[in-house]
């Protein structure tokens, strides 16, 4: 068989084509469907990196095809043959320089965005705080200001920054809602923070992002974004109609199991902070400092 390079290009294009076609033309490609400023900012960088790397890889692939066709070792090939041609300062400077420039640009943008995304996307607005705990194998959400709690789903107001404070009472996991933005690890005995915000009302898919054993595949949750007034109504409804979470309920939740969605109108006060401390936070200065202003008493 005679290898020909267009076959590669073809396979590549076909693969990409099939992929896009079969995936419902983009609707389900969640990273490309940002519903808030964080995911949007990340997507901008994705477009930039795609563009800048394409500047290198497309010429490389074309050049490869051209060279292989032109310099094939076959009788009658009259293309020049220079077995000693092995040095060219100019050319080498060019291709040390091109990637340096690209990395320079991407590095600068990365630097700005990394700092920006560590902060509230909209500092002028009062954020909502949600404490998130990954358990084996479910997600527990506490609303410290609303005093309610949910399992495997969370509701948030639109157009308002949300600070998720993350911890685990189980092996390390990660909190990921691709439509709203990237993930952050949840770790036992530690608190990490992730800023997200939804502009568009809707229901967004979330899932654990770090493997935690047999129930991991079922660690799915929903994030529902709705206007502030609807959000408030939902809070009232949960507060009035859902059952309380007792310490015993909480202990039961921490046992390995796969559950559906639950709502609670209250939860044992300080349970999030207490769990962090019990799971090892008491040994960490950083945690004590971070929790210092959250703990009712320390």
């Amino acid at each position: 068989m005679r290898p020909s390079w267009w076959k590669f290009a073809f396979t590549l294009a076909a693969g990409a084509g099939i992929s896009l076609l079969t995936s419902g033309c983009g609707e389900e490609i969640r990273v490309f469907q940002p519903a808030g400023p964080v995911a949007r900012s990340e997507l901008e960088l994705i477009w930039l990196q795609m563009g800048l790397t394409a500047v290198v890889i497309i010429p490389v692939i074309l050049l490869l095809a051209w060279i292989v066709i032109r310099y094939r070792n076959k009788p009658g090939n009259r293309a020049p043959y220079q077995p000693e041609f092995a040095e060219s300062r100019t050319l080498e400077i060019v291709w040390w320089a091109i990637p340096i420039v690209i990395v320079g640009i991407l590095g600068t943008v990365t630097w700005h965005k990394t700092y920006a995304l560590a902060q509230s996307p909209n500092p002028s607005k009062e954020p909502l705080k949600i404490e998130v705990m990954s358990l084996n194998w479910k997600w527990l959400f506490f609303y410290p200001d609303q005093k309610i709690a949910t399992v495997n789903y969370a509701e948030i107001p639109t157009d308002r920054p949300v600070e998720f404070l993350l911890t685990a009472n189980a092996p390390m996991n990660a909190f990921w809602v691709p439509n709203l933005g990237g993930m952050e690890y949840t770790m036992p005995g530690m608190v990490t923070s992730l800023w997200l915000q939804a502009d568009k009302a809707g229901e967004y898919y979330g899932h654990g992002g770090n493997f935690t054993g047999p129930g991991f595949a079922q660690m799915q949750f929903r994030v529902v974004a709705k206007p502030q007034s609807d959000f408030d109504a939902w809070v009232r409804q949960v507060a009035n109609s859902a059952p309380d979470m007792t310490k015993a309920d909480y202990d039961k939740l921490t046992q390995p199991s796969v559950l559906g969605e639950l709502s609670f109108s209250s939860y044992p006060e300080g349970i999030f902070e207490q769990t962090v401390m019990d799971e090892g936070g008491m040994y960490m200065d950083h945690d004590r400092a971070m929790l210092g202003n959250m703990m009712p008493h320390s």
């Binding site: 992929s19 990340e42 077995p83 041609f85 092995a86 990637p99 965005k113 700092y115 690890y185 990490t192």
Partner: protein, 655 residues
């Protein structure tokens, strides 16, 4: 009593799962078959004398190669099982527990027991020949390295029939891997198998570093060294920097598990994040350990099959060295999402992207090597050509992953799975296959027939894109890695199905390689020239396979492509020995001790895995005895008389 016995046996031998029982039966049958064949053909002595006790780098290379191909098969079967399970939503082929074990063993085997022995096969097959040496610096240690790898791999592989496989991922993060969440023996297998083979790897690093620094033929200055040897040098430097870190991390976790320490639990002041940190201080450079030798192979193959000098030799050397240094400064990109803060993330984003610079330079230099050359599309060259677009994509997606803000979206998703397979298959596996095809005649003395090889090439390549391009998209759709199943409403079905088809195409490709090797064995075409491809470096000046002392007379080197230049000047015969120059050759003696030492390590590893401290200690005692035996051995070497060498060379037609 009877009851408790069956119970223990039930825990010891994994039972119940029909697939595992089938493997049990297959293993017993194959072992019986091997024993029977060896006995029937009276080959036990041959096996012991020629292989198990050898210290010859060329034979060690062959043993590494066979192991690597077997492990590629095992890892490949794992891959197909996983892909079958994921082909459709809610598949019931594998349970969650079983899937978890399989992705763990697949990843671990592919990296540590397939890629590593494959690169060591290439090191051993090529480096001494390429630098004009008679063996490596420490041949006995080299044999120990092999047997530690071998018994480490064996220990890891028996886990699925005895006691249960590890199931917490090849990254083995605590606290998931601490006793609290993972009480079985599987994780102990992982820790001990990797520790044992890791010692062997460190020894290999030392060995080849010393070999390359000290044993080059006279005249071969560093800047005249072939690029493969340069790549090995860079690789050894990285091995020495990072493998000890892995050993320490594994040992600490093992101490946690066996003796109840708290290095990596949050309790009593330990910290699991430290394991993640140590793991990746090794883990990221590990990918360069695997890919640098492949880069070296690409350089050799491109130059040979373009009949042209390598372009930008100095840049190539500089980029190898740059990669082996910058590569050690990027590991944090594997846990940007652990909350270390924007300063740390920015720093490691930039160092990671910086590695792409020397890598890109290498790609351009390979292209320019072909430019104005004469390109022959033999199998080794085809794999190189297929590598370039593949690695261009893997490099690009690597840069995307390197930027912390976007990594937050790609991390731990199928996007990442697609990226690292593109780098590991398109970069490492393609390189190793190119190297295997290229040096096969040198290693075995006969050529591989091209027919099935071309089939393999096309199946594997097309299969690759069909399998992994959809996975990039799946990642962007939100599909996490390490999920054993998904529901139909996620809209992931079509892409997963396509991906599975690709995996099967690659499986067919692998079978074609097996067919090719068998076909070539049956219709063997000996390589009588020693130089079937028009090679450029010293190994091609020797007969295939070379006599066990390699060079009857050590050559004097004056050019970078010494053999090519000699051929060009019509001086081939100058590299043949003259009878009066032949002296006695000092060579190491064969020894069974490295093999026995491997056995002792295996016993120790097995004992500790099950927490049988006495067995473990007995194994370690055996190791000490082996070490003492070597220290007390007054005559580890012998002389091959000049006459015998003259006779051998004459028989090879070289006098």
């Amino acid at each position: 009593m009877g009851d408790s016995l069956t119970n223990t046996a039930g825990h010891f031998f994994v039972t119940g799962d029909p697939m595992i029982i089938a493997s049990d039966v297959a293993i017993v049958l194959v072992s019986l078959g091997i024993v029977f064949t060896l006995t029937y053909f009276k080959k036990w002595k041959w096996l012991w004398r020629e292989w198990l006790t050898t210290v010859d780098h060329k034979k060690i290379a062959i043993m590494y190669l066979i192991s690597a191909i077997l492990m590629l098969f095992r890892g490949g079967v794992d891959a197909l099982l996983m892909r079958t399970q994921l082909a459709l939503p809610n598949m019931k082929l594998l349970s969650a527990e079983h899937y978890d074990q399989i992705f763990t063993t697949h990843g671990t085997i592919m990296i540590l027991f397939m890629a590593m022995p494959f690169i060591f096969a290439m090191f051993n097959a090529v480096v001494p020949l390429q630098i004009g040496a008679r063996d490596v610096a420490f041949p006995y240690l080299n044999a120990i390295s092999f047997w530690l790898f071998f018994f480490g791999a064996l220990l890891f592989n028996i886990s699925f029939v005895i006691g249960g496989s590890p199931d917490a991922g090849w990254t083995s993060y605590p606290p998931l891997t601490e006793l609290q969440f993972d009480p079985g023996v599987g994780e102990n297998y992982y820790l001990l198998a990797l520790s044992i083979s890791g010692i062997g790897t460190i020894a290999t690093g030392i060995n080849f570093l010393a070999t390359i620094i000290k044993m080059r033929a006279p005249g071969m200055t560093l800047m005249k060294m072939p690029l493969f040897t340069w790549a090995v040098l860079g690789t050894c430097i990285i091995i020495l920097f990072v493998f000890p870190v892995l050993s320490v991390a594994l040992a600490l976790l093992l101490i946690d598990r066996l003796f109840g320490a708290h290095f990596f639990t949050m309790m009593y002041g330990g910290n699991p994040m430290q394991f993640v940190n140590l793991f990746w201080i090794w883990g990221h450079p590990e990918v360069y350990i695997a890919v640098l030798p492949a880069f070296g192979i690409y350089s050799e193959v491109v130059s040979t099959f373009s009949q042209k000098k390598i372009f930008g030799y100095k840049s190539m050397v500089a980029s190898i060295m740059a990669i082996s240094i910058i590569g050690n400064l990027t590991w944090v990109h594997h846990f940007f999402t652990m909350g270390a803060g924007p300063a740390v993330n920015t720093f490691f984003s930039i160092t990671t992207m910086a590695v792409a610079i020397p890598t890109g330079v290498k790609v351009f230099n390979w292209l320019m090597t072909m430019y104005r050359g004469r390109i022959t599309l033999s199998l080794p060259m085809m794999w190189v050509l297929a590598f370039i677009p593949n690695f261009a994509l893997a490099g690009a997606t690597g840069v995307w992953l390197a930027e912390a803000p976007t990594d937050y979206q790609y991390h731990n998703s199928y996007f990442t799975v697609a990226h690292f397979h593109q780098a590991l298959i398109g970069g490492v596996v393609y390189g190793m296959l190119a190297g295997m095809y290229y040096w096969w005649p040198k290693m075995f003395g006969f050529k591989l027939k091209e027919k099935f090889g071309k089939w393999a090439f096309w199946f594997f390549n097309i299969g690759f894109y069909v399998c992994f391009i959809p996975q990039y998209v799946l990642g962007l759709m939100g599909m996490q890695r390490r999920m054993y199943t998904y529901t139909p409403d996620m809209h992931w079905t079509a892409l997963n199905f396509v991906s599975t088809i690709g995996a099967y195409l690659m499986g067919i490709g692998f079978l074609c390689i097996a067919a090719q090797i068998i076909h070539s064995l049956v219709h063997m075409e000996k390589d009588l020239t020693g130089d079937p491809w028009g090679g450029r470096t010293l190994e091609w000046s020797l007969p295939s396979p070379p006599p066990h002392y390699n060079f009857a007379v050590i050559p004097q080197v004056s050019d970078r492509d010494e053999w090519w230049e000699r051929k060009r000047r019509g001086e081939q015969d100058a590299l043949k020995p003259r009878p009066e120059d032949i002296r006695n050759v000092h060579m190491p003696k064969n020894s069974g001790v490295p093999f026995l030492m491997g056995v002792c390590f295996f016993i120790a590893g097995f004992g500790f895995t099950f927490g049988w401290i006495a067995v473990g200690a007995a194994g370690l005692l055996g190791v000490l005895v082996c070490l003492a035996h070597r220290s007390l051995d007054q005559h580890p070497d012998h002389d091959i008389p000049a006459d015998e060498i003259r006779r051998t060379e004459a028989a090879l037609g070289r006098l």
